[in-house]
């Protein structure tokens, strides 16, 4: 426990822990000191000089070392001749801080005036207008009358693209370096910097492509002026027209808390549309950050032209006819559900399946889910608390691409002293921040994990760790491979966690899933199917939130042999097109529900916009089908579903919408009136969610995974392995216009340059790859960081590679 320090700020007594900065101490007692360069998530730099205050310190008598006292016995204070920056000054015992004296106020006002000599007065057309600290402070201090001759003002270029997502307005920039420091220190991608110096100082990016970072959007949130804006939101709306809707990002298993900004628009006949997504503070999940995929692809498909919809009468009849099929099929029904469904949807499906005696499967290429329901991250875990003595092992996962916020948080954990070990068949961005990197050949995943504990230093780091978290993914692996890897990881964890700490926070396994609620499905007993094609032949298949036909031609064929296909989805897919019945689901942005992230935290999301006419939430569609089969399921509201879910699913015991909405005070305080402190990210007022109870106490079983023999390749073959890239052609991503170039960047066959050379191919060349008798054209992308002899094929890019497979690659005839 840090030592406590007592001081006075504007006469108010304040007690804070040693090391606290004056500006933060003031914030804690509700005193706002204006800041521009300071940001509570970053080290102070004291550059902008906005936070000037008067600081007095107790006078110490040189001879006695005792404080000098006033006549009334109070300690005598000594004020320096200069104002001091409160953002760089740590509190000290007996200190007196004055923020409202004439001197301090004059100092602050003078800095604003200086800033305005080079800042345009274009607030009326600035995107930040209405939520701009500089604008607010200018009003407050009344420096509206300029002593500066307008013609002599410093002018800079406007609308400079730093990359294709973020624009810079050079003359609005106040050189606070928040964006540069965020990229360097928090994101670990120093792709922004100052160029030139003095008054000519400018922000630039020299990365190729420009502003090459998946966290770039955050810089526009923390920019205290309108210098950095997203290409998406620029001129999109005025801040004061926007309403806020709390939500959870559904693009990956992290579950970042977000806020959607919505307003009514003529384009939708006066209906509400979402204008932007911004992070919402949850210090246990995403702090105040989110990745660009979530920001620029998280909701955009809501307005997609390929939304499914049916008018009420049509919907009724479709539901009736489809239900009749189910009623006949009964146990001959197969339910296939995708991981983007909410907990309430899964629960409703599970009940329907139980009543019919039908089989239910989780639609996924990744196995090993059971492991995380037993060995999943323990209650009370918070990656933000990992530090010295703790060990994190990441196996076969490229977190930067698959779950960017975890990458960010593990990087921070490593910087706090945690031992991060990355084991992967290729280089990942996390390597740079980890203590140990283990490079294995694709196919050796299980073997590698098995022997980890025997390695000298790495073994010690694992065995002697205070807490141990293991992330495992599916890099280069299929269903069987991930299942075996999961089991091996569980064994490793169990062998280390024998001392009872399994139930303490920050211990357990985390599956790096590709969907936001796979964990919720797993907790309710859904599991993937190892032989889907055979399972669905001849059956009545109810496919929800999945596109097997689009993903794999073999499954498309299999679906054609099914008796009946009922497809339920948000957007049109190959599967909905071949289905006999299509049920239009509401997007998650249009409804309420909960997701369980891969850390086993259940979080609520709320409707941001009204549901598209002709759509219904998934659970309601399922309940309507059930009704047609004579089964009464809760279809009115997700809250009512959750009430039942929590009673019947042991993992969810104790969870309710009320408990999920409980708030505790978070630090730093952000998003209030003083936007300068934390930026325009949103304060969380709707709850931090709740972590499922740990099941770990219930004994640690060890089993032996079946290891599949490695593939033997002919001389002319390469081992093709599936990998996950952040930006792919997934159904929700394609409507995100801004991300097209990013998607294309990784759309191809990724080869080592030497391998490409051997095949007579160079970067960018067109080639073909044959898989299961089908030939697919693809672009060649070279990457020196992967090994020769393999070809990486990104998932969801059009080549249905499900398992590591031997392939031949040929140059395509021109």
């Amino acid at each position: 426990m840090a030592k406590l320090i007592n001081l006075h700020i504007n006469g108010t007594p304040v007690t804070v822990s040693e090391g606290t900065l004056v500006v933060d101490a003031a914030k804690k007692v509700g005193i706002d000191i204006p800041v521009f360069c300071y940001h509570p998530k970053m080290e102070p730099v004291g550059m902008c000089r906005q936070c000037l205050v008067e600081i007095g310190r107790p006078m110490i008598d040189r001879a006695s070392g005792q404080p000098v006292l006033n006549e009334d016995g109070t300690p005598k204070l000594q004020f320096g001749p200069k104002l001091e920056t409160s953002c760089t000054t740590p509190v000290a015992e007996g200190m007196a801080v004055l923020t409202e004296t004439a001197k301090a106020q004059a100092g602050q006002k003078e800095i604003i005036e200086l800033l305005l000599t080079s800042h345009p007065l274009d607030c009326p057309v600035c995107d930040k207008g209405g939520e701009c600290p500089l604008q607010n402070l200018t009003m407050e201090h009344g420096v509206s009358e300029s002593r500066f001759t307008f013609a002599e003002k410093h002018h800079g270029e406007k609308h400079v693209p730093l990359g294709d997502l973020i624009l810079l307005d050079r003359e609005r920039c106040i050189q606070c370096a928040r964006c540069i420091r965020f990229q360097d220190k928090i994101a670990g991608e120093p792709v922004l910097s100052f160029y030139q110096r003095g008054r000519n100082t400018d922000i630039v990016s020299y990365s190729d492509p420009g502003f090459d970072s998946v966290f770039s959007g955050n810089t526009s949130d923390i920019c205290p002026v309108g210098a950095l804006t997203t290409v998406e939101f620029r001129f999109g709306a005025r801040a004061w027209e926007l309403k806020q809707a709390a939500s959870i990002c559904s693009q990956c298993p992290v579950g970042c808390n977000v806020t959607f900004n919505v307003r009514r628009e003529a384009s939708t006949g006066g209906g509400y549309v979402i204008k932007r997504a911004m992070p919402r503070q949850n210090e246990q999940v995403n702090e105040i950050w989110m990745c660009d995929k979530g920001r620029f692809a998280g909701y955009q498909y809501t307005e997609s032209a390929s939304r499914l919809k049916l008018d009420p009468a049509e919907l009724d009849s479709t539901l009736r006819l489809a239900a009749a099929k189910l009623a006949v099929a009964q146990a001959e029904t197969v339910i296939l559900a995708g991981g983007r469904l909410a907990n309430e949807d899964f629960f409703t499906l599970k009940q329907l399946a139980a009543a019919l005696g039908a089989k239910t499967y989780l639609y996924s290429n990744m196995g090993g889910g059971e492991q995380t329901t037993t060995y999943g991250l323990s209650a009370g875990s918070n990656l933000g608390h990992l530090g010295k003595g703790d060990t994190v092992l990441v196996v076969a996962a490229d977190l930067y691409n698959e779950a960017p916020l975890w990458h960010l948080r593990l990087k921070a954990a490593a910087e706090r002293g945690a031992t991060v070990i990355v084991a992967a068949a290729r280089a990942t961005k996390l390597d740079e921040f980890s203590q140990f990197v283990i490079r294995y050949a694709y196919g050796d995943e299980v073997e590698t994990v098995k022997t980890l504990a025997d390695k000298e230093k790495i073994g010690d780091a694992i065995k002697n760790s205070k807490n141990l978290v293991i992330f495992y993914g599916s890099d280069g692996l299929g269903l069987a491979g991930t299942a075996a890897l999961a089991e091996t990881c569980a064994n490793l964890f169990a062998s280390v966690a024998v001392d009872g700490r399994t139930a303490t926070p920050n211990n357990g396994l985390v599956g790096v899933w590709s969907t936001p609620n796979r964990q919720g499905a797993l907790e309710m007993g859904f599991a993937p199917c190892t032989n889907l094609a055979a399972e669905i032949a001849g059956k009545t298949v109810y496919v929800v939130a999945a596109d097997p036909a689009g993903d794999d031609p073999a499954l498309a064929e299999a679906l054609k042999t099914a008796k009946t296909v009922i497809a339920q989805d948000i957007l049109e897919t190959t599967t909905t097109r071949l289905a006999e019945f299509t049920l239009p689901a509401a997007a998650y942005t249009e409804r309420e529900g909960t997701y369980t992230n891969a850390e086993r935290r259940v979080q609520r999301f709320y409707p941001a916009v009204p549901a598209h006419p002709g759509t219904k939430p998934d659970f309601a569609l399922t309940a309507a089908l059930a009704k047609g089969c004579g089964l009464e399921l809760e279809g009115r509201s997700p809250l009512l579903v959750m009430n039942k879910l929590a009673l019947s699913e042991s993992a969810f015991r104790g969870i309710s919408y009320a408990s999920l909405s409980e708030m505790v005070e978070q630090w730093p305080i952000i998003g209030r009136g003083d936007l300068y402190y934390g930026g325009t990210s949103y304060e969380n007022k709707l709850g931090l969610g709740q972590v499922l109870e740990s099941k770990l106490s219930s004994g640690l079983a060890q089993s032996q995974p079946t290891i599949h023999a490695g593939l033997r390749m002919r001389e002319d073959e390469l081992l093709a392995v599936p990998v996950t890239k952040l930006y792919d052609n997934g159904i929700t991503l394609t409507p995100a216009k801004l991300l097209q170039a990013h998607i294309q960047r990784f759309n191809g066959l990724i080869l080592n340059p030497a391998t490409a050379l051997k095949l007579g191919l160079e970067n960018g060349a067109q080639a073909t790859v044959s898989l299961n008798g089908v030939t697919y054209p693809a672009k060649v992308l070279v990457d020196a960081s992967i090994s020769t002899g393999v070809v990486l094929i990104p998932r969801s890019m059009g080549i249905p590679l499900l398992e590591p497979t031997a392939v031949t690659i040929l140059a395509q005839e021109a």
């Binding site: 120093p190 910097s193 030139q196 990016s205 020299y206 990365s207």
Partner: protein, 175 residues
């Protein structure tokens, strides 16, 4: 996609010993950035984007971090100019001894304005801040890639002679 494969090996191939010696000088790689930039400037007369990228790779930095250095220091140039840069100090001490007039006359004689380059691409005239030659004004430094020489107690005539000599030397080199 990593563009590592497209980065030239100019400095490493051409000046292997110098690069080696520069690295040996410092306990951390990043400290080598300034000397390496000088090397790049020797090569091209200014610092190209390609050499920034190469230096970034050598030092395990982002190209942006290297560019930030180029932009900050006034002796690094990011654009092509004359082979020689005549950089006349017109700061206070030199100005008290007629540096402004000297610069004006020099420009007239050479026939270009401050900041411009002679048509043959040989000389660019620039105005700079104090060079620590205050007692010997008018004075300038001649920058040629990474090399610098001082020319003090100058007159326009002496400078024109120097320019002629430079011209001649370069013709000889070309032939």
């Amino acid at each position: 996609m990593s563009s590592v494969d497209n980065i030239p090996n100019l400095l490493r191939d051409k000046y292997p010993e110098e690069v080696q010696a520069i690295f040996a000088k410092y306990p951390i790689k990043r400290s080598a950035v300034m000397p390496l930039l000088y090397l790049a400037q020797r090569e091209a007369g200014y610092i190209t984007k390609e050499s920034m990228a190469e230096i970034a790779t050598l030092l395990e930095l982002d190209t942006t971090e290297v560019a930030a250095i180029v932009g900050f220091y006034s002796m690094y140039h990011d654009e092509k100019a004359g082979k020689y840069r005549i950089q006349v100090c017109t700061d206070i001490s030199c100005a008290l001894r007629g540096a402004d007039k000297f610069l004006e006359h020099l420009c007239q004689n050479i026939g270009i304005k401050v900041g411009e380059t002679t048509p043959d691409g040989l000389v660019t005239i620039e105005e700079v801040k104090c060079l620590a030659g205050c007692d010997k004004a008018p004075m300038f430094q001649l920058q040629d890639g990474d090399q610098v020489s001082y020319h003090e107690n100058m007159t326009v005539d002496k400078t024109m002679e120097l320019v002629e000599a430079l011209k001649k030397a370069n013709l000889e080199v070309k032939e």
